[in-house]
Every structure is written in structure tokens, then in C-alpha cells.
């Protein structure tokens, strides 16, 4: 009786069990993420810590609130999207307003701390002669004598004291005034002390008033070389009195001399201004942007019309071997792009590649595919044609088959020529069907990093540019070089600014495409 009752009692909260388990899981997750966020914060990664914090709040809300049930179906996807797609976007926007990059990699506080660590020996500072003592554990102590013959005991990170013999284990003094023994310590002879390398690196005495061994005969009290003046936001050199003012994330003297390291600092719209009006960058930028558009446009035009022509050629249900022909023609599209680009690089190799050798044999001349800017551009368009005409052939032949046949019959009755049929019927109807895909293809080529980077790394180089760029570089490959190519000096801030500009170009194109496909209306109707 009793046992069944208690069983019933136990079963009574069974429906709540999933709830309790869920709550426990959420708490464990929160604890772990909390620890993670604190660790990130301790390392100074505040934006990332904030990002994780916001995402965690969001996940808690979804898991605990009943109305959010449908969102639970996609919570994993949304979290991953927030972390790896949205956070990088915000981060990029933030970076684009800063000088983040080479020599501006740390926060302002970190930079100030590093600079304040620099010490100097003031002319009026106290100099001592010294004798070193060492424990068996390797802890050092210094016995210092000032010019008046007063003796001091200095240990690392401890106040300097002035003990008399008998106190604190100090033994009898010798004729110079140095104790013969200190309890627990062994006295180093002058030769040992002079050759001990660690000794010169130890700071004796309390922080801010440290004493360091400068030479075999002298130890001196060092003072911080710089003092930070928050009011002027400047570093003041204590030795010379020079004022280094914060100029775009570097403490700089009016003569232009800079203090290292610099730090990440907001420079407002300067990156964007550099992009549009910097005289040093204008030459390569105009070249880059115009080639970027030319490349995307010509690629689209060539690939689409070549693909369309192929599709029309075989657009006949009774054409022999149709299936085999199609399978063979789409082979370029089936090979991963990276592999085909590298293969073409080999085939076009001057002197050694098959195409260059064949042309050499036939005409006694072959184009300088990699060193002449015009031929390099031609080669890139050719390779891109080979890579993607099969795609356009496939989508065009799909669209051609969807055009009703009776329109052509009617046109034939009216005496329309084949060219008129193509221009007035086929092309307009086709463009309606594949238009959105063409826009998508334009935006894809606009950022076709793989092709440009793998084929010739943007070369041949444009001579005399401040940050090297190539004649076939497009914006995205230029950005990649700015951010990842070590030899050119990384500049994340400027790279991020160009990224934002590309985003606006591509975004405009894509919004246009969505208008075209009526995707927005589709959602609105589908409520």
C-alpha cells in the first residue's frame, strides 16, 4: 500500500521530468558559456565576449519561452549564423573605422602599459656600487653602497632597507662596508657577479622605484621614461620633456617621431576617404575597380552567349547522341574549379605549357600569358569561359525547352526570319527565365577570388603602388593581400573598408535580383 502510494507520488512529477532535465541542460550550458565569456574578457576580446553573451541570452529566451517553439527547430542554425556570419559582419564594419593592422594590433591600455615599462637613468638619480648575494634557490639580493658609504639591502619586489649588522641576518661588515655574510645567502665574488647574465635583468626594490645593475661597478635607481597624461592624451618623455600626442593610434612627436607600439584606434572615415581620394592610391584603385567591373561584365557576356549558342545548337529533341554530347560538354563544370585553374596555369605556361609550345611551333610566337597585362586578362577570360560556359548551356537549354513551340509557328506564319525569331521571341523569354541567375553570376564573378588568385595571383604587378597591386587584381584579391600577405604589411582596417564597399556594390546587385524574382512578394503573399 505504502509503497504504491509513494510510487504514485513519484510518478506524479514524471510529466515535469523533461522540463526539469531541460532546465538542467540550460543551466549547464549557461555555466559553460559563462566561463567561456569570462575567459574571453580576461584576454581582452571584448567584442567577441559581447557577441557570445548576446547569443546566449537569445538561446535562453528561445529554449525557455513557450511562444518560441517554432524557432527551436532552427536554433542551431541561427546560432551558427549569428556567430559565424553576422558577428564577422559587425566586426568588419567596426574594423573598417579603425587603424587595425600592422603595428596597431593591441588595445590602447596594453600599448600604454608597454610604453610605461620603459625606464631611464635620471642624471640626478642615485647610483650605487653593489655586491650580489644568492640563495641556494637562486634568489638574488644586492648590498648597495651610496657615495657617502651608507649600506642598503635590496631584494626583488621588496622595499629597500637600511639594516645594521646583526639585524635581519646581516653579518659583520668588511673594510668596504659590505657584510661578509647574510643569513641564507651566499656572497658572489666580483667575477661571478660580473658574468652572471640574469643579474642585470632583475629589478630590485619596490615597483616604481626600482634599482637595476647597469655595469659591473654600478647599480642605479631607474625611473619610468614616459608618463601618460590623460588630459592631453599624450605621453611625456621625462628625460627630454618631449610630448608625444596620440595621433590616430600612435603617440607621435610634432616632428613625426613615433612611439612603438601603436594601438587600435578609431580613425573615423579615413579608410574610406583613402579609398576614394587618396592621391597615392588613386591610380591603382581606378585600375582595380574598372578591371573588376570589366572582368565581371565581359565574363558574363562571353560565358552566357557562348553557353546560349551551344544550347541552341543542340536544342532539338531528335538530335543524335544528345545525351552523350551534353555529358561531355559539362565536364569542365564538374571538375573542382581550383584544379582546373591550376591545370590551365600549367597549359599556358610560357615555353613549357602545351598551348604556348604549340603556338611557338605554328607561328614562331606565343603570347606572354602571365607577364603582359592584356594577355593575362585575356587568359583569365578564356579560362573563365571554359570553366563556366557549361553552366550557362545547362540553364539556357532548360529555359529554351520551356518556351512554347506554337509561338514560333505563329511567327513563321507571319514570315519572321530566324534572326527576328531569335531577337523578338527567344531572347526576351529566355532573359525572363534566366535573368536572376545572370545577376547572381555577375555578383559571383565580381568576387571570383579563386580564379584571379590561383591563376596569376593578380599579376603582372602594377609598378610604383604604395601597397602592391596587380593588373588583374580585383577588389577581393587586393583585400586578401592587404590582410594576409605578410610581405606587404597587413592593414585590416583598410581591407575591411574595401570589404564594406564591395558589400554595397554586391548588395545593390542582389537586391535588384530579388526584386526581379519577386521573392519579397512571395513571402508577403504566403502568410
Amino acid at each position: 500500500m505504502n509503497s504504491t502510494a509513494s510510487q504514485n507520488k513519484a510518478l506524479a512529477w514524471m510529466p515535469a521530468l523533461p522540463q526539469i532535465l531541460k532546465l538542467a541542460a540550460v543551466i549547464i550550458m549557461d555555466a559553460f558559456v559563462g566561463w567561456f565569456i569570462i575567459r574571453l574578457g580576461a584576454l581582452g576580446y571584448y567584442p567577441l565576449a559581447a557577441g557570445f553573451f548576446i547569443v546566449t541570452i537569445f538561446v535562453n529566451a528561445i529554449l525557455l519561452r513557450k511562444e518560441a517553439y517554432p524557432i527551436r527547430w532552427m536554433v542551431v542554425g541561427l546560432v551558427l549564423m549569428a556567430l559565424f556570419t553576422i558577428y564577422p559582419i559587425f566586426f568588419t564594419v567596426w574594423v573598417s573605422f579603425t587603424n587595425f593592422g600592422e603595428s596597431h594590433l593591441i588595445t590602447k591600455q596594453q600599448a600604454i602599459d608597454q610604453i610605461l615599462n620603459e625606464k631611464y637613468l635620471p642624471p640626478a638619480g642615485k647610483a650605487y656600487s653593489w655586491t650580489a648575494f644568492i640563495t641556494t634557490q637562486g634568489d638574488y639580493a644586492l648590498w648597495l653602497l651610496d657615495v657617502d658609504g651608507n649600506g642598503y639591502l635590496a631584494k626583488p619586489e621588496e622595499l629597500v632597507t637600511q639594516p645594521t649588522p646583526g639585524e635581519a641576518g646581516i653579518g659583520e661588515l668588511d673594510e668596504k662596508g659590505v657584510p661578509k655574510t647574510i643569513e641564507g645567502y651566499k656572497r658572489l665574488n666580483p667575477f661571478q657577479a660580473a658574468t652572471d647574465r640574469t643579474l642585470t635583468q632583475i629589478l630590485f626594490g619596490e615597483a616604481g622605484k626600482t634599482i637595476q645593475v647597469r655595469s659591473p661597478t654600478e647599480a642605479a635607481e631607474l625611473l619610468p621614461l614616459y608618463v601618460y597624461d590623460a588630459e592631453q592624451d599624450a605621453m611625456i618623455n621625462q628625460e627630454t620633456g618631449d610630448v608625444y600626442k596620440n595621433l590616430r593610434g600612435t603617440f607621435t612627436l610634432s616632428s613625426g617621431e613615433e612611439l612603438r607600439p601603436g594601438f587600435i584606434s578609431s580613425i573615423k572615415l579615413n579608410n574610406f576617404r583613402d579609398f576614394f581620394i587618396s592621391p597615392a592610391l588613386r591610380g591603382p584603385m581606378v585600375q582595380l575597380v574598372s578591371w573588376n567591373f570589366t572582368f565581371a561584365f565581359l565574363s558574363l557576356l562571353l560565358n552566357f552567349f557562348f553557353g546560349l549558342a551551344t544550347a541552341i545548337l543542340f536544342n532539338d529533341p531528335t538530335f543524335p547522341f544528345k545525351k552523350i554530347i551534353r555529358s561531355l560538354l559539362i565536364i569542365p563544370y564538374t571538375v573542382p574549379a581550383l584544379i582546373t585553374i591550376l591545370i590551365w596555369r600549367g597549359m599556358l605556361n610560357p615555353e613549357l605549357g602545351v598551348i604556348s609550345r604549340t603556338m611557338e611551333n605554328l607561328f614562331g610566337w606565343s603570347p606572354p600569358w602571365f607577364t603582359d597585362q592584356l594577355w593575362a586578362k585575356t587568359a583569365i577570360l578564356l579560362v573563365n569561359l571554359w570553366l563556366s560556359y557549361p553552366y550557362f548551356m545547362l540553364i539556357s537549354s532548360g529555359a529554351l525547352q520551356s518556351i512554347p513551340q506554337d509561338i514560333y509557328e505563329a511567327a513563321l506564319m507571319d514570315g519572321a526570319s530566324p534572326w527576328q525569331q531569335f531577337k523578338r521571341i527567344t531572347l526576351p523569354l529566355l532573359l525572363v527565365a534566366v535573368g536572376p541567375l545572370l545577376i547572381a553570376s555577375f555578383t559571383f564573378n565580381f568576387n571570383n577570388f579563386n580564379l584571379i588568385y590561383l591563376f596569376n595571383a593578380g599579376g603582372p604587378p602594377i609598378p610604383g603602388t604604395p601597397t602592391p597591386a596587380g593588373y588583374t587584381d580585383i577588389l577581393i584579391s587586393y583585400v586578401y593581400n592587404l590582410a594576409f600577405s605578410g610581405s606587404r604589411g597587413v592593414n585590416y582596417g583598410f581591407a575591411a573598408a574595401i570589404t564594406i564597399i564591395i558589400f554595397f556594390i554586391v548588395g545593390t546587385m542582389t537586391l535588384f535580383q530579388y526584386r526581379y524574382t519577386r521573392m519579397w512578394e512571395e513571402v508577403s503573399e504566403n502568410v
Binding site: 551558427l80 538530335f319 605549357g353
Partner: protein, 297 residues
């Protein structure tokens, strides 16, 4: 009488015209096919050529053999198998998980009505306007920062690379999936709901089997895209044995490309063939998906 013979003649000439036109088009076809498959044939020939350099290659190699393949598989500084298996592993995990994310989200968007549904759908499109490649710098810095706390999600790690790939799973493919789900009549779920089935049961038992065609298309395209992805992998992976095949091949191509052209060709071909087979075997489904706007990767 005469009109009939004239008609006859016209018909004859029409069929001659047709034969002529097909003949011309077949000749075009031969040229186009040569243009399309020549590089592939050339690489095949290079991989079988025992001399193995770019300069000495001829279309039909003398004394063909598999020497380049054997050399490739034995090279220590270019561990082909490790790279290949890395690529297969990453592409498989990414495409399966990405498919799961896409399908679940597509189902929720298609079947549930909730506040913010339209806004969310639209913002998915807007967010994906920002090409992932552009956030490369930010992604790199982020992963390196996370790795300072949790090294297994840091740089030079497959797990973090997969997570970054999955960050793009909530993309345009959700629209494709939702569109497909919308075509499945809701009567099916409603009758099951009357029988007391839960949403999860309806989804797994009833809806999922019907999604096969679209799952294949999205899954395969995602697989191919991940397999061929190179930029993120290049930036996030650092050590030789962690590289994917595409990164490995690119690095191989940077080092003595011309002298070891034959070995490179063998590697390129072995890397390309699995994808080529998938494509050619499933070309009808893939073409269907492409024209609907599915994305390759």
C-alpha cells in the same frame, strides 16, 4: 499533278536541309567537345607520362605507366591520402549537418505560423547578400581568439572550419526547401495530427521521406561546394597534415610545379574524379536544382 511533285521536292529538300544542318552541328559538337575535354585529357596524359615534367609532355605519352601515382602516394611532404580523407571527412560532416539545419528550418518556416516569420525569412536573404569571403579577416581573427580559450575550436582545426561552413547553412537553400515543402499538401500533416502524432513524428515519419529529391540536390551541391572550397580552409588551417586536398594541391602547385607536373596531374585527377562521377551520374537532378537557384556551396 505538278503541284504534288513540287511539294514532294520541297519535302525532299527539307529533309536534305535537315541532314545537312545536323551534320554541320555534329562537326561543331566535335570541336566543342575537344575544347571541353582537352585539358582533362592533357592532365590524364601528363599523369601517365613517366618523364613527369611540363616541358617533356606529349599528348600520347611514350611508355605510359602509373609511376607518378605511386610517387605521389609515397611522398612524405605531400601526404595525398591524408589530405583526401580530410576533404572527404569535412565535406561529409558539413553537408549532412547543413542539410539537417536547412530541412528543420525549412519545415518550421513552411508549417508553423509565428511572429517574426516573414522578417526572419527576409533577413536570411539580406544577410546572405554579404559574401562569406568578404568576412574572411573577421572570421580569421575570431577563430584565433576563440582558440586562445578553447584550442579545439581554434586555428588549424577541422572542427572550427566545419562550424564556419555551417554558419552559412541558413542561406538561400532554406528558400528552396521551404518552397518544396509548401508544395506538399498540409492535409497530410493535419490528418496525422488528428491521430495524435506530434510535430516531430509528422516531420520524421511523413514529411522527410517525401523530401528525398530536394535533399539529394541540396546535399550533393553542398558536398561539392565544400569539397572544392579553398579560401577559408587556406586561411584557417595551418599545418601540413590538417590541410584539405584543395589547399594541399594549391601548395603543391606553388612548389616546383613544372618539374613535378606529372605528380601534380596524378593528384589533380584523383581529386577531381569522385566529384566528376557524382556530377555525371546525377546530372539531371543537379541541373534541376541549379536552375531553381540552388547554390554550389
Amino acid at each position: 499533278m505538278s503541284s504534288i511533285s513540287r511539294f514532294q521536292k520541297f519535302r525532299e529538300s527539307k529533309s536534305i536541309q535537315r541532314k545537312f544542318s545536323i551534320g554541320i552541328r555534329l562537326i561543331f559538337a566535335v570541336f566543342l567537345i575537344l575544347f571541353s575535354i582537352f585539358p582533362v585529357l592533357w592532365v590524364l596524359s601528363a599523369s601517365l607520362n613517366p618523364t613527369g615534367t611540363l616541358a617533356t609532355q606529349t599528348l600520347i605519352p611514350k611508355n605510359p605507366g602509373f609511376g607518378n601515382y605511386l610517387t605521389l602516394l609515397r611522398m612524405d611532404q605531400f601526404p595525398f591520402w591524408t589530405w583526401f580523407l580530410n576533404s572527404i571527412k569535412i565535406a561529409t560532416i558539413t553537408s549532412v549537418l547543413s542539410l539537417a539545419i536547412t530541412t528543420l528550418a525549412g519545415y518550421a518556416f513552411s508549417r508553423f505560423r509565428f511572429r517574426g516569420r516573414q522578417t526572419l525569412l527576409k533577413s536570411l536573404l539580406l544577410i546572405n547578400v554579404f559574401p562569406g569571403l568578404l568576412a574572411l579577416v573577421a572570421t580569421f581573427l575570431m577563430i584565433s581568439q576563440v582558440g586562445d580559450v578553447l584550442p579545439f575550436i581554434g586555428l588549424d582545426n577541422h572542427f572550427s572550419l566545419i562550424l564556419v561552413y555551417l554558419g552559412g547553412a541558413m542561406g538561400i537553400n532554406i528558400w528552396l526547401m521551404k518552397g518544396f515543402l509548401d508544395t506538399i499538401p498540409r492535409d497530410i500533416d493535419e490528418s496525422a495530427m488528428v491521430d495524435g502524432a506530434s510535430d516531430w513524428q509528422i516531420f520524421t515519419k511523413l514529411i522527410l521521406p517525401l523530401l528525398r529529391p530536394i535533399l539529394i540536390v541540396i546535399g550533393i551541391l553542398n558536398y561539392i561546394g565544400t569539397y572544392g572550397e579553398f579560401v577559408l580552409a587556406r586561411v584557417l588551417l595551418r599545418s601540413n597534415e590538417q590541410y584539405t586536398l584543395m589547399v594541399g594541391l594549391q601548395i603543391f602547385a606553388g612548389a616546383q610545379f613544372q618539374q613535378r607536373w606529372g605528380i601534380f596531374a596524378a593528384g589533380a585527377l584523383m581529386g577531381a574524379v569522385p566529384i566528376m562521377i557524382i556530377y555525371l551520374a546525377l546530372q539531371d537532378q543537379i541541373v534541376g536544382g541549379l536552375t531553381q537557384g540552388a547554390v554550389k556551396g
